[in-house]
Amino acid sequence: MNLIYATLGFIGVYVYVSLVSLLWEGMDRKLVARMQRRMGPPLLQPFYDFLKLVGKESIIPRDASRFFELAPVLTLATSIALLAYTPLGFEPIFGTKGDVIVFVYLITLMGFFRALGAISSGSPYAQIGAQREMVLIASKEVPMMLALFAVLWRLNGLGVSRPFGMGTFYEHNVWELGTPLSVIGTLILLFVFLLWLSSEIEVGYFDVPEAETELAEGPMVEYSGRHLALFELASAIKIFVSASLVVAVFFPWGVSGYLGLTGVTALVAELLFHTLKVFAVLFAGMSLFRAITGRLRINQAVSTFWTRLFPAAIVGALLLVIDTLGVVA
């Protein structure tokens, strides 16, 4: 019975996140348009785009292998599976101890499947895009994982029911430590996380694999019709999930406690408030970043991660460690 409820909740979360993430994409396009003094498309444009793509003919290149058709399905399936481990204002539905590994694995796997589909397309443009995607994945997850594990390790020290689980953030958060060292460390990690978010959803500096003007859409160049629609939906969900992680780590405060809600209404209120926070984080990490920065070259992007963000993550993590162990007192 419990499993049935969990499954129903999971489906509900999937439907909600699909709608909201596409809605955010519409808001993002509108916001960026207004930043450039344009009017922008209607708010529901991504829905129209999705429906149009679903209705269009999907062309399979002659040189494509079997994975070409399989990759979009696998990507969307991974993104849906990811939702079961994503903190959405409440503990993840299938959350358990140590599920942060599953989260990191699944979110990396999405990029991997995208690259797989690109390699299978037989187009050299897509393959160059896939190479860049893989290089970027190899660089960007390192600072994020260091920062995430440092925070989780620190929270573990405060005593949590499921160590290294995504639900940890709703029991304790990093700000409640309150010591100057931990606050500075957390701010540094927040910076790392925001740039990781931008690279995960490939905007601004890190629009490297897609690179419309340089590589003609990169990995997605051969995709059309419903296959492209699946990819679009999956990447919209990925945007929401990545931002959800940032929100859960740094801004996990809920509203139901203040409003005195319990049960299902509390869950709904938390979900809505979480969505608001996600939109706020995405405004800074996606819309603004996209409007004010151009693309980096792939070598610049990689060196940004290894020479800027990775050291920053180390410094942030060390500050948390020093604060905890009391080496400097």
Partner: protein, 147 residues
């Protein structure tokens, strides 16, 4: 990593009105004085001197010898207005009209003086001719009878 200098501009733009003209909902941007829009042809003024055919770089204009007029297919027109400048009787002029998109390249909107119009004009000419001849005959008869 510096803060990009565009940040303040972009944030300021968020609170300004879009600087766009939502065309199908509003009027298009007004055309300036001397705008070179769709070519307008006045058949009555035309004397059939064929100067416009000589200067037209795109081959829009064709001579119709039976009626001593010209016919136009604006599908090729480059809006250079050389025919307007060269026309000695000012039968050609440029209008303000520029929304000329069509699904049919031989649309009536892109033709001046073609098909039935030419036929009609021929018929009119013939009628005039007949009228003139019959008038002449009657005049001659009248002269003869008077002796």
């Amino acid at each position: 990593m510096r803060v990009p200098p565009t940040l303040s501009t972009v944030l300021g733009n968020l609170f300004k009105k879009p600087a766009t003209n939502p065309f199908p909902k509003s009027d298009p941007v007004p055309v300036p004085e001397g705008f070179r829009g769709k070519l307008v042809y006045d058949v009555e003024k035309c004397v059939g001197c064929r100067l416009c055919i000589t200067v037209c770089p795109a081959g829009v204009i064709e001579y119709v010898p039976e009626v001593r007029k010209v016919t136009f297919w604006l599908g090729r027109c480059t809006f250079c207005a050389q025919c307007v400048d060269v026309c000695p009787v000012n039968a050609l002029s440029m209008s303000d009209e520029f929304l000329l998109a069509t699904a049919d390249k031989y649309d009536d909107n892109l033709r001046w003086f073609h098909g039935e119009e030419i036929e009609e004009f021929k018929r009119k000419l013939e009628e005039k001719k007949k009228a003139r001849e019959s008038f002449k005959k009657e005049a001659r008869k009248a002269v003869e009878s008077e002796g």
